[in-house]
């Protein structure tokens, strides 16, 4: 396959960026999208040019490092991570636009690499259960109904890639935040911090400069792990409950 790539190039956080055009040839449909970029980078290095910087690590769809907007879609046309997208999803002769996640809370570091530490700070605000090592009771001391355990798991699957923010017309982090709130709040172990968790995480999310939710649903469509939109509804419910309870204290 022969393709034309238009890639966002930006030398550093404080410099201007622009789309640059590259031609790549001999692309196999079996290549992953990132392997196609590897090929481009090998060429660029040998030509003495700066290779395209992009985040990636596990390349099996679980670490959440890869983060490309391909033809306007976070992670490209398939519902998966960029590393699991293969070139057979494109046709010979295609022109492909590759851009970084766009959000003020995710500033560009270089080319297609952005800083997602805002997500870490949202977790630090309350996305945990306070259970210091050694303090745990016997695991079977508290039974967790299977539906609750399954609900927790479905939300815990979030890989923190940020596709939800990238896809959201408002650059909101509601789906990410709600996934963690729902994972922990449904479990009996998470109950003591249920109210503070949701209030603190939402407050942190706002402070980081993410947009608000207009329930456009783009986040859930882009999510490679299928976290549903109703996750946000649940978090809203938790937030209102916590606000009411806090008001009574």
């Amino acid at each position: 396959m022969k393709l034309t790539l238009r890639v966002w190039r930006q030398r550093a956080a404080d410099t201007e960026g622009a789309m640059s055009t590259y031609e790549v040839d001999d692309i196999s449909p079996d290549m992953s999208f990132l392997e196609m970029l590897d090929t481009l980078n090998e060429d660029l290095i040998l030509r003495g040019e700066d290779p395209v910087a992009f985040d990636h690590d596990c390349r099996e769809g679980i670490c959440g490092a890869c983060s490309l907007v391909i033809n306007g879609d976070a992670h490209g046309p398939e519902r998966t991570t960029t590393c699991q997208l293969h070139m057979r999803s494109f046709a010979d002769g295609d022109t492909i636009d590759v851009e970084p996640w766009r959000a003020s809370a995710f500033p560009v570091i270089k080319d297609l690499v952005v800083d997602r530490s805002a997500f870490d700070r949202i977790i630090q605000a309350g996305g945990y259960i306070t259970a210091p090592t050694g303090s745990a009771p016997e695991a079977h001391a508290t039974a967790v109904p299977k539906p609750d355990a399954d609900f927790a798991f479905e939300h815990a699957e979030c890989i923190g890639c940020g596709a939800c923010v990238a896809a959201c017309p408002n650059g909101a982090a509601m789906l990410f935040t709600s996934a963690k709130v729902n994972h922990l709040n449904v479990l009996p172990q998470g109950a003591p911090e249920r109210e503070t968790r949701v209030l603190d995480m939402v407050a942190r999310m706002d402070e980081e400069g993410f947009g608000g939710c207009t329930l456009a649903g783009e986040c859930a469509t882009a999510c490679p792990k299928g976290i549903p939109l109703v996750s946000i509804t649940n978090m809203n419910k938790e937030w209102l409950r916590a606000t009411r309870k806090a008001g009574k204290r």
Binding site: D30, I45, D50, I62, H86, I123
Partner: protein, 652 residues
């Protein structure tokens, strides 16, 4: 064939001895050690700084726990977030001797299985402690909110895994590693928010600072700005994972690397059993030279799938056109009683053998069929889908083939490294104040790791072992004279690191970092992969210094060191692979026996099975660095088996 490599002429030094494991009944040793270990007064803990490198299961849990205890933790990871460490990719589960099933499991049985599974090349004391702690890990993780699979009654579900006869594996669908890692990451996040952990993401350790014989800090590079800085502490903990990426193609993450452990080795830490690598039999084969990594599929597939290749060499017909009597179900043929369920190393080697005979399938003939046609006929498609649906989907996404209709193609791939920095019972390396935990050390798995045991070991080390043993070191070595950036040793280490970076950038040759990595990987896979021979290893030992020499002549790294430069990161890691690979080959060459993941063709039984030589090789080989390309010194740690008596494995 003789070798001109001076490297192969190693010498043997004094034995290395673990002095930390107490004597006495094995079940009481851990309690005894904890009691004997000195404690640091809680009020004094915050005055101690501990550096932790890596945020996987071992590093994440260690950082969180040390911070909870009151230490000041300074932690590093090369990823943009501690949540992305490669532990996240572990699929299967985590073992624990809970015996919830009442199926005869016990701490002793898990201990026994692990020592035996490791083909009698692990230290009994450590393994027993691991089995004891396994029970606490599950409690800890459940308290953190790890959503393990549960039964309808609300209690935890378990399954059997990796051919053991008890159901002791706890799991969270096929994403157990992810869920355990997020639990540790969240505990770590709590400590970061509390100001007890100073987290440095996108910062990679490049060297170890050893002052007056003690580990006192590290040199690390900020991957965004390129700034190389020094960080100081009272103790340094390496939790930087394994070195499977020496092979270029492995199931490791792309950026997993050996630099932290290798630099520590160069600064005096012995490196044990580097040749013990695990090759996983059920990975998706490579499709071409563009391949950047390999993807593992759970070995549970072997429970219902049948493995075969065509009987005839070079048979190019599509699988459905090959009639039944022209297929060779080779595992069922060679190992009638275990069939497709033989252990990982045997299944891997058998696949290699049939492919070497020219009977492999798929592109390049590097693959064998894993066929579910019989299972679908027997169980029905719906049942197969319920059991393996997610794996089939993953396979289809990567290969664009429908495994319900066309048999899957699989091939073995490098997956885990049992070898690592030599540590004593306290997980301390031979450099005082330097500890190694998780896959970075060599301690618990011997020559072969059992399925679902990596997660157990990482968390045992991080949550429970290290936090108990590091106190003893810190209590015995309270505030040792200040070491700062001006210290001459620090200046020297920093200058060496900066020189290395400058050199990499200055060569300006005509080959990319990846091209060298790929070349080294292919060499290692051929000669130090699934089956090793003396002549092959000698060939590799001759070739590696040549590649290294060529590397320093022809490497091309664009850009500068003072910026985000992924090519520079990569090239610098390859520098270390090019030395570590040599040690792996030497270790494999010197160990003229077959055990676990290490198969020497010269050492096999008449039926072609691995032959262990306990009389000669019942030791852990700990190597001392003497210089790049100069022969290392071997220190043996004799292994004593008081509780599990070595027997030869047989699966025929």
């Amino acid at each position: 064939m003789s070798t001109s490599s001076a490297y192969a002429h190693y010498t043997t030094g004094d034995p290395v001895v673990d002095t930390r494991a107490p004597e006495g009944p094995i079940a009481e040793r851990w309690d005894k050690r904890r009691f004997e270990a000195r404690l640091v007064n809680p009020a004094n803990r915050r005055k101690h700084t501990v550096i932790v490198v890596g945020t996987g299961l071992a590093g994440g849990s260690a950082g969180a726990t040390l911070a909870e205890q009151g230490y000041h933790v300074v932690q590093f990871c090369y990823q943009d977030s501690p949540r992305r460490a490669h532990s996240i990719a572990a699929q299967g589960g985590i073992n624990a001797a809970k015996n919830y099933r009442n199926d005869g499991d016990s701490v002793h049985r898990l201990f026994y299985d692990t020592v035996k599974g490791g083909d009698f090349r692990a230290r009994e004391s450590n393994v027993h402690r691991l089995a004891q702690i396994s029970v606490e890990i599950i409690d800890q993780c459940v308290a953190q909110g790890v959503p393990f699979a549960r039964e309808y009654g609300g209690l935890l579900d378990t399954r059997s895994f990796g051919g053991v006869q008890v159901s002791r594996t706890f799991y969270a669908r096929g994403q157990t590693g992810q869920q355990l890692l997020l639990g540790a990451y969240q505990a770590l996040s709590r400590q970061i928010a509390a100001g007890n952990v100073e987290m440095h993401p996108r910062t990679e350790m490049l060297d170890l600072i050893v002052v007056d014989g003690r580990a006192r800090g590290i040199v690390a590079r900020d991957l965004i700005t390129g700034k190389i800085d020094t960080y100081f502490a009272d103790a340094v903990v390496l939790a930087s994972g394994g070195y499977g990426n020496v092979f270029y193609l492995s199931t490791n993450a792309m950026n997993s690397n050996a630099t932290a452990v290798w630099r520590a080795h160069r600064r005096g830490a012995l490196f044990a059993n580097p040749c013990f690598t695990q090759i996983h039999p059920t990975c998706i084969p490579r499709t071409g030279d563009h391949q950047s990594k390999l993807t593992l599929m759970s070995e549970s597939l072997r429970n219902d799938g049948r493995i075969w290749v065509p009987k005839a060499k070079g048979d190019q017909r599509p699988p459905h056109e090959i009639p039944e009597d022209e297929r060779d179900y080779y595992l069922e043929r060679i190992y009638p009683s275990f069939g497709n369920l033989v252990p990982r190393d045997i299944a891997s080697r058998a696949a290699k053998n049939v492919c070497d005979e020219g009977r492999g399938v798929g592109p390049g003939g590097q693959g064998v069929y894993l066929d579910f046609a019989d299972a679908i006929e027997r169980m029905g498609r719906a049942a197969v889908e319920a059991k393996y649906g997610n794996l089939f989907d993953m396979y289809q996404r990567i290969t664009d083939e429908d495994p319900y209709r066309v048999p899957m193609r699989i091939y073995p791939a490098v997956h885990y490294t049992m070898g690592g920095l030599w540590v004593d019972y306290d997980l301390q390396t031979t450099v005082p104040g330097l500890f190694a935990i998780g896959e970075a050390n060599f301690s618990d798995h011997g020559a072969n790791r059992l399925g679902a045991s990596a997660l157990m070991q990482g968390l045992a080390d991080g949550y429970f072992v290290l936090p108990a043993t590091i106190n003893d070191y810190l209590a015995r070595h309270p505030r040792q004279g200040e070491v700062g950036p001006e210290h001459p040793v620090v200046q020297e280490v920093l200058a060496e690191t900066e020189d290395r970076m400058h050199l990499l950038l200055a060569v300006d040759g005509d080959r990319t970092p990846d091209s060298f990595h790929r070349e080294l990987g292919e060499l290692m896979w051929e000669f130090c992969g699934m089956a090793r021979t003396e002549s092959g290893l000698r060939k590799a030992l001759e070739r590696i210094p040549q590649i290294r020499e060529e590397f320093w002549r022809r490497i091309k790294v664009p850009g500068t060191g003072e910026e985000f430069n992924q090519s520079l990161e990569k090239a610098n890691r390859i520098v270390d692979y090019l030395e570590l690979a040599e040690l792996m080959c030497l270790d494999a060459l010197h160990r003229a026996e077959s055990c676990g993941g290490h198969f020497r063709e010269e050492s096999q039984t008449p039926d072609g099975e691995a032959e262990r030589k306990d009389d000669t090789f019942s030791y852990a080989a700990a190597w001392e660095f003497t210089g790049t390309g100069t022969a290392p010194v071997l220190h043996k740690e004799d292994l004593v088996f008081e509780y599990v008596h070595p027997t030869q494995r047989s699966y025929a």
